[in-house]
Amino acid sequence: MTTTVSPALRPTEQVYAGHPEKKVTLYFLVTGLVLLLIGVAIGPLQALNYAGIDVYRYLPFLKSYYQGLSLHGVLNALVFTTYFISGLLLYLPCRALKVRPNLLVAWGAYWTMTAGVLMAAAALLTNNATLLYTFYPPLQGSPLFYIGAALLVVGSLIIGVQVIVIWTQWKRQHPGEITPLVAFMSVATWMMWLIASLGLVVEVVFLLIPWSLGWVKGVDPLLARTLFWYTGHPIVYFWVMPAYISWYALLPGQAGGKIASETMARLSFVLFLLLSTPVGLHHQFADTGISMSWKVIQMLLTFLVVIPSLLTAFSVGASLEIAARLRGGGGWVGWIRHLPWKDPVFTAQVLAMVSFIPGGAGGIVNASIALDSEVHNTAWIPGHFHITVGTATTLTFFAVSFWLLPHLTRKPLASVKGALWASWLWFWGMIIFAIGMHWEGLIGIPRRTYLATATGLGDMLARAQIPMALTGISGMVLMVASIFYFSVIFRTLLGRQRVAESAEVPIPVSESLEQFEAREAGLSAAGMKVAGAVRLMERLWIFFALALALVVLMYLPMLIGMVLNTHLLPGQRLW
């Protein structure tokens, strides 16, 4: 084991002395996780509702099912993810580039975000923003909610711009050098988010805030919805790409192998940058007032974004196989046993990846107009995104927290066993959940419904008894999983023992096969031959400009049509 130093000898501040950005990163991660804890606590109640069991009448602190659901959606999908990603994609690229971020800016972003979340939380908790996380007008909430949401996004953009600026300066100081993979991927992700967040920012700042403050008398619901989904789809890539960074660039090393192909890894991130944004219409296939031609074009683009995900599946699979064979595994599938299954950092990520296989397949179903008409707004949809953002992303972030929190604090993970239990239970819980919800959706059960008291679904409920039971059971499994997870995390954070600096958990940056081969051949990093494609892809600004042009082409004509033809409606409060 490692040498431990008594806490008295090492005041907390000294832990961060070498890398003060560790502290701000830790704040981002831990704040995100605490807010996730609140959001996740409501999940099992919703699962019980989808089993036909009403617990809400015993809960005085929630005014309605929908207030709880608003908290669940906002805290889990919007708040937790944004905090965690801002911390992770600030820290990793800065360390990879060996640059210290401007701490004033980083803390400024943290407090902007936190001020926003406190405002939005005040509105949500007082039942003044029971709008669900999509807040479609003309349902109108308190201005605090919208201003808070805007500040949350602005906080993330401050971090994003900071990382892009740091990278641009690094490029200037290192002419001809290739950006390290992790930094390259982080910059591509932030560039994507810069373009993708525009819709939400415009919707909230120009339409919803003035309207909720009473400065303008109406809002056009179709225009607002379109702007919302302009951001609402690419936001899912904003959730998934950080997980891909971990799978591509960190997991191979954690498993004891190599990155199978760095070129392909970079290519898939360039494709994400180009194609993530002009696809939001696939959430509006059922909307009246939007022409079918735009829907079909964006459907095609949505299918194209499947390609980088298929590339990821290949590469990550290959790098795991390399790892297993290096560890002595063999055979067609026998190598799988030789992977480090006792390590929760590894296991949680692999389970996250496995959940993403049906998750991605379901996404293709949702994206095709002909099939979407059967599942749109049914329980199928939450079934789908709990195995994508709710598992592929969330369970990967759990894995990240298992090494990154010990790395940042130098406190050892409180319980490896507990972490393994949390990961397996979360995985199986979500799989059962997904089976139940997808099945209910095919029967026609709507999502976002206080089902336990619904009046008009009689015969449908009778046909859905088995899947509803599955959903209820999964909620209980997930509750146990979250108890395991959060107790491991809080015991780690509150632990008093710290290891010495020399024993710090390292950042698991992996070597690629290309680098490995060059090293074996006795070449230095500088002497290594770099593929032309990698040099081309270094010009991320060009791809940024192309992505922007594509999104303008796909959205501007439609948006102009809507703006020239607005129908303003006053706000309604129906809860």
């Binding site: 309605s64 003309p138 022409s291 390609i307 002909a370 749109h376 290309e514 129908h567 809860w575």
Partner: protein, 163 residues
Amino acid sequence: MLDHHTIEKYELGWLVVALVLIAMLFAGVLASMISETVPGFFGTKAQYIDPAKLSQTPFATPGLKTGPDGALDAYIVATAFQFQPNVLRVPAGRPVTLHMVSTDVIHGLLLGQGNVNVELIPGQVAVITKVFDHPGSYTSECNEYCGTGHQTMSFKLIVEAAK
């Protein structure tokens, strides 16, 4: 261990497979839409009605109407928290044009038969022509959150066998 050139070659092959799969998927979905498995590929027109002025339109008296030429038009109005009418009877095997509109906030409707699934954005009229082939009674409910009474906003489609 595999060298990275071999892996890259396999991966390029995989990229080509992926592209072919996507092309086939797109063609398949498009073919299905053109053959009208989902209503609305041809001839949907955007139509807007001021929700405050429904009284001057056929929506003033919701329900099924038979035109002079025998054409069937059904007018459905969604308002928190009910559909009018909340039971719609249509004959099997004949084209019915559904006209649906919301008057206040966004509602949604998925009919248990016929791939009809629409978001009703206030004032934006959904116009869908559909032949319901299978007689029966189909329950559904508003499927877009519209407020605390959302779960009580039910709708029933009854497809009656031709006599």
